[in-house]
């Protein structure tokens, strides 16, 4: 039965995601909010690969999100106007940076690891902020836009057609989600669960723990830089806030809110976070206080997040 429930949940989630342009406007919103949710969901799921499935907390994922975003934006603006090329460069830059920084911090654990991820994250924030000639500093990288996709036989106008862009983002999201699910179900993925559950036992099963944490970190940062590249394309703009520490915090909040032990938890968390933000920020500037309150309540009373609660209900 639980397996059937899980399958049904997957089908429901994909059905809802695929039909967003049809039902979201009926719910009084707009497609762009759906795009927003999917981009952030990918970032939060990427973070959760490390947090929920390897048991390692990063408070610096915005750095690699932001590198993906800046890489895409600057490539399209200065190098060559191509959406796929921009994404490719962004993802390579983000992942490469993560690979190098990972080597330096992978032996740290718990709060020490988290602190170092923040510190390295802020390094990139200040580079983006100060290096005005290249990054535009506080003003960000503007005066460029995503380029319609040229598929040879036809071209998809992801620039002017919000539905087309939504489906483009969803396609990238689907590939990434499938890849993460595939990895998590593999023997390699199980070594990550082993590290999360009990590092000492994992080590004494012959698993080189530091190396596997490094790999999980790089994989996680790879996917978060994909999300970052999509984020830049979505806004046709990027500024240093994309890689500031509070952005990292938002990813963690989304993952924990939705439930970090479930694959779709971060998606639910991102949806709740962004819908609340969208709704409350139209009434008050202090929207973050309300999200903060909601977050505290969830953590206090439902430490497994929204999906964790639903799962327990169905189990009992």
């Amino acid at each position: 039965m639980p397996r059937l429930d899980k399958r049904a949940g997957d089908v429901l989630i994909w059905f809802l995601l695929l039909t967003v342009p049809y039902w979201l406007p009926l719910a009084g919103s707009y497609v762009e909010l759906g795009t927003h949710v999917v981009v952030y969901a990918l970032a939060a799921m990427a973070l959760n690969f490390l947090l929920g499935y390897t048991g390692v907390l990063s408070f610096g994922h915005a750095a690699y999100f932001g590198l993906g975003a800046y890489g895409a934006a600057m490539t399209i603006k200065y190098l060559y106007p191509s959406t796929p090329l921009g994404m490719l460069v962004g993802v390579i830059v983000g992942t490469a940076a993560a690979g190098v920084i990972g080597l330096m911090i992978v032996r740290l654990r718990g709060v020490y690891f988290a602190m170092c991820t923040i510190a390295f994250g802020q390094v990139f924030y200040f580079i983006a902020f100060q290096w005005r000639t290249a990054t535009g500093g506080d003003d960000g990288v503007s005066a460029w836009h995503r380029v319609p996709l040229d598929l040879g036989v036809a071209s998809v106008d992801i620039l002017n057609n919000p539905e087309a862009f939504y489906y483009f983002v969803l396609a990238v999201f689907a590939i990434c989600a499938a890849a993460m699910a595939f990895l998590l179900r593999s023997p390699f993925g199980r070594t990550l669960l082993a590290i999360r559950e009990n590092e000492r036992r994992a080590r004494f099963l012959g698993i080189p723990v530091d190396r596997h944490i490094w790999m999980s970190w790089v994989i996680s940062c790879f996917f978060v830089s994909v999300a970052g590249a999509l984020f830049a394309l979505m806004n046709n703009f990027v500024d240093p806030r994309a890689l500031r520490w509070d952005q990292s915090g938002n990813f963690v909040i989304m993952a924990v809110l939705g439930g970090m032990r479930s694959f779709w938890g971060p998606l639910i968390g991102a949806a709740i976070f962004l819908v609340l933000q969208d709704y409350i920020s139209s009434h008050t500037e202090n929207w973050m206080s309300f999200i903060g309150l909601f977050f505290v309540l969830i953590v206090l009373f439902f430490p497994r997040g929204v999906l964790g609660v639903m799962r327990r209900r169905t189990a009992s």
Partner: protein, 249 residues
């Protein structure tokens, strides 16, 4: 050939000498017990063999090769597996998943993003076999964290066994268990020793267990080797009696 030879190892923690110039040699197929009063340095001694701690001085030779500075994971690859005094398992995974991770680690699949259907079947058969032999067959889909202490310990021992060790180190396998559980675990250890000619070194507090199982016994007291010999010799040894009575008094 001697399987494991520990040569004059010592370990200091600041000014405390936890293990002081202890040597031991273990032959293949032997079941060796290490006993001693609390604070005798048994676990420290064990930790040096498994690579959890580095000795301050001395050498550890396994199958003719010096492993004194070899990392824990690599000692596992060479065939040294261990359990811990406080059971170390994956509590939020099922018994099957626990065993499966161990089997896959032993098969060298730890980096594989996928395995073939045939390999999958082999892994699954091996997991079933291990859970049967550990007496866990009827609860293999339960989370290990929900099982009794004895079943958790059995899971841990079977995980260590999944690694196909040539030397199995058991740190107080019956610690904190009731009579029935102690009996079950003792039977399990005896069975593994008999079926596989597996070399086992164990630390134990429960004297019935030690004298019922071990071929040879080594006694540590205050970090030093106090005596070594067959169970009969140890039972008759006056120094050993004094050490234990001294502790009781």
């Amino acid at each position: 050939m001697t399987l494991l030879s520990v040569e004059h190892v010592s370990r200091r923690f600041g000014s405390l000498v936890a293990v002081d110039d202890v040597s031991m040699s273990v032959e293949p197929g032997e079941l060796r017990a290490v006993i001693g009063p609390n604070g005798a340095g048994k676990t420290t001694f064990f930790n040096m063999i498994s690579g959890f701690l580095a000795p301050t001085s001395g050498r550890i030779v396994f199958e003719g090769e010096d492993v004194t500075r070899v990392l824990p994971a690599r000692r596992v690859w060479r065939g040294i597996a261990r359990t811990f005094q406080i059971t170390e398992v994956f509590p939020e995974l099922t018994v099957r998943e626990n065993l499966r991770i161990a089997v896959e680690a032993a098969a060298g699949y730890r980096l594989r993003p996928w395995i073939s259907r045939e390999a999958e079947a082999v892994v699954s058969t091996r997991v079933t076999d291990l859970s049967d032999r550990g007496g866990l067959a009827d609860r293999e889909d339960r989370l290990v964290g929900e099982l009794s202490h004895g079943d958790q310990r059995a899971t841990e021992i079977m995980m260590a066994l999944a690694l196909n060790p040539r030397l199995l180190l058991l740190d107080e396998p019956t610690a904190g268990m009731g009579d029935q559980e102690t009996y079950n675990i003792t039977q399990l250890i005896r069975q593994l020793h008999k079926d596989h000619k597996l070399t086992i070194v164990l630390i134990e507090h429960d004297m019935r267990v030690v004298f019922g199982l071990a071929d040879r016994i080594m006694v540590l007291a205050e970090g030093r080797l106090l005596a070594e010999g067959t169970p009969q010799q140890i039972a008759a040894n006056e120094a050993v009696q004094a050490a234990y009575l001294g502790q009781a008094a």
